[in-house]
Subunit: 231 residues, 2 copies
DNA sequence: TATCGATCGATACACTGTATCGCTATAAGA
DNA sequence: TCTTATAGCGATACAGTGTATCGATCGATA
């Protein structure tokens, strides 16, 4: 199970025959397929077909499917712009948080892949470096704690957001919050009276948009950090 | 793609022939396999074999594989003890957070499944209800924000923790923090000098244990909540 | 021009989830 | 007790997956 992705594998010398391919082209095709139809659409056969090649051709550029997925993830990390070096830790982390969220909404499959394996690609490492560097505390352990907590929140929140989005999309296109509650099962459940708080949520809560909720939660985390490490 | 799990499907009347089965037995076997060998070990063939049955037999108790996975997730939710009703929101949420973390460490596949589909099983709903109920703010929207943020952090943090754990386990059994840094690739990367903060982390940071880091991050979130909603 | 060498992809294998459907063993009816 | 109906089980089959093997085919070099 030692499926270590080789991040700095040299490109094969040149491509002679039909259409010259490259690892970038393979990864690009895979990303395009995943963006359009989800991760299920990313199979060696489909990616190869999208490039007008046979499935086995891909093995010249990618050693395994896990490596292809790793490369896709790293590509997304590359899309996230780093915070300005002059920014304070709070704006810096907010910038990163929103960058990750935006990237994850552009590529919904990102959250499915993130966290399956550690991100050690060049773009992921650059992302991590600039994120850490935006928090200029003297104690490096504190820096790790803060960045770790913020990123944990970000990934958790974005994952939840996209899950909700998918559920809404699949169960009838109605975008109204908690419209699942009108499903017969949910109504039955709420009718038992054993979920009073849940019922309050369904009936009383206003459906604010996702970005607002994300920002509120992020505010909690950053406020908590400030409360302990502010000058 | 309307793979709606039917949570309250009635059990089939009775099992006559070889070994009487039940949905609980099927889910239990699946969980046992997943605990032992990861989610890859959960296939209809393998689960059925573990029960001494043919693969098709499972379809009497479970409509699809996604439903089986949903049931497994709900079973884990059932293991998480609710917070005491007399607890304040802070202790209540801390209790839930640690409960989720503990359950996820008992069943490492949990984080892989959580967030793929919304959790609407009875145990998940009970878990959500008791979690919401522990935060007795007058504004239900605030309750949602707080619980949402805390759970986002918890799931993100636990996911990261288990990913790290898997990486350590697969890359040589050395448990030392950042021992990946001694891998040739990581050394090469750090030698470029383009990741100074990362290098500081690798060389200077002390390797505290995961529970401590989890608690610290959770503290940030809860402190942030307290800063805005404290009486 | 002839040989070599690399690369492409057809074929194959083990595995997945699941649709179909004949068999069988049990339960009900006479 | 003997027959019939019924329902559940699982063998078989199918489309899909990742990938190992390896023969054919093409380009470049001698």
């Amino acid at each position: 199970m030692s499926n270590e992705t080789v991040w700095d594998r040299p490109e094969p010398p040149a491509k002679p025959s039909p259409t010259p391919l490259s690892r970038e082209l393979v990864v690009g095709a895979a990303i395009r397929l995943a963006d359009a139809g989800g991760l299920d659409e990313v199979s060696f056969r489909k990616v190869a077909a999208a490039l007008g090649a046979g499935p086995m051709r891909l093995y010249g550029y990618v050693e395994t499917k896990d490596e292809l997925l790793d490369l896709m993830v790293d590509e997304v990390y590359g899309e996230i712009t780093p915070p300005s070096p002059s920014a304070g830790w709070r704006e810096g982390l907010r910038h990163v948080a929103h960058g990750v969220r935006a990237a994850a909404k552009r590529h919904e499959w990102f959250v499915d892949l993130v966290g399956n394996r550690p991100h050690q690609g060049p773009n992921a490492l650059t992302h991590l470096e600039t994120t850490l560097a935006t928090v200029r505390f003297e104690d490096i352990d504190q820096v790790l704690d803060v960045v770790g907590a913020v990123m944990a929140y970000v990934f958790g929140a974005v994952r939840g957001e996209i899950t909700e989005l998918r559920a809404e999309r699949s169960s009838g296109m109605t975008e109204e919050q908690w419209q699942r509650a009108s499903g017969p099962y949910m109504q039955r459940v709420l009718a038992t009276g054993r979920f009073p708080t849940l019922a309050r949520v369904v009936h009383e809560s206003s459906d604010r948009d996702a970005a607002e909720r994300f920002e509120t939660g992020l505010g909690y985390v950053l406020d908590g950090v400030a409360a302990r490490h502010s000058p």
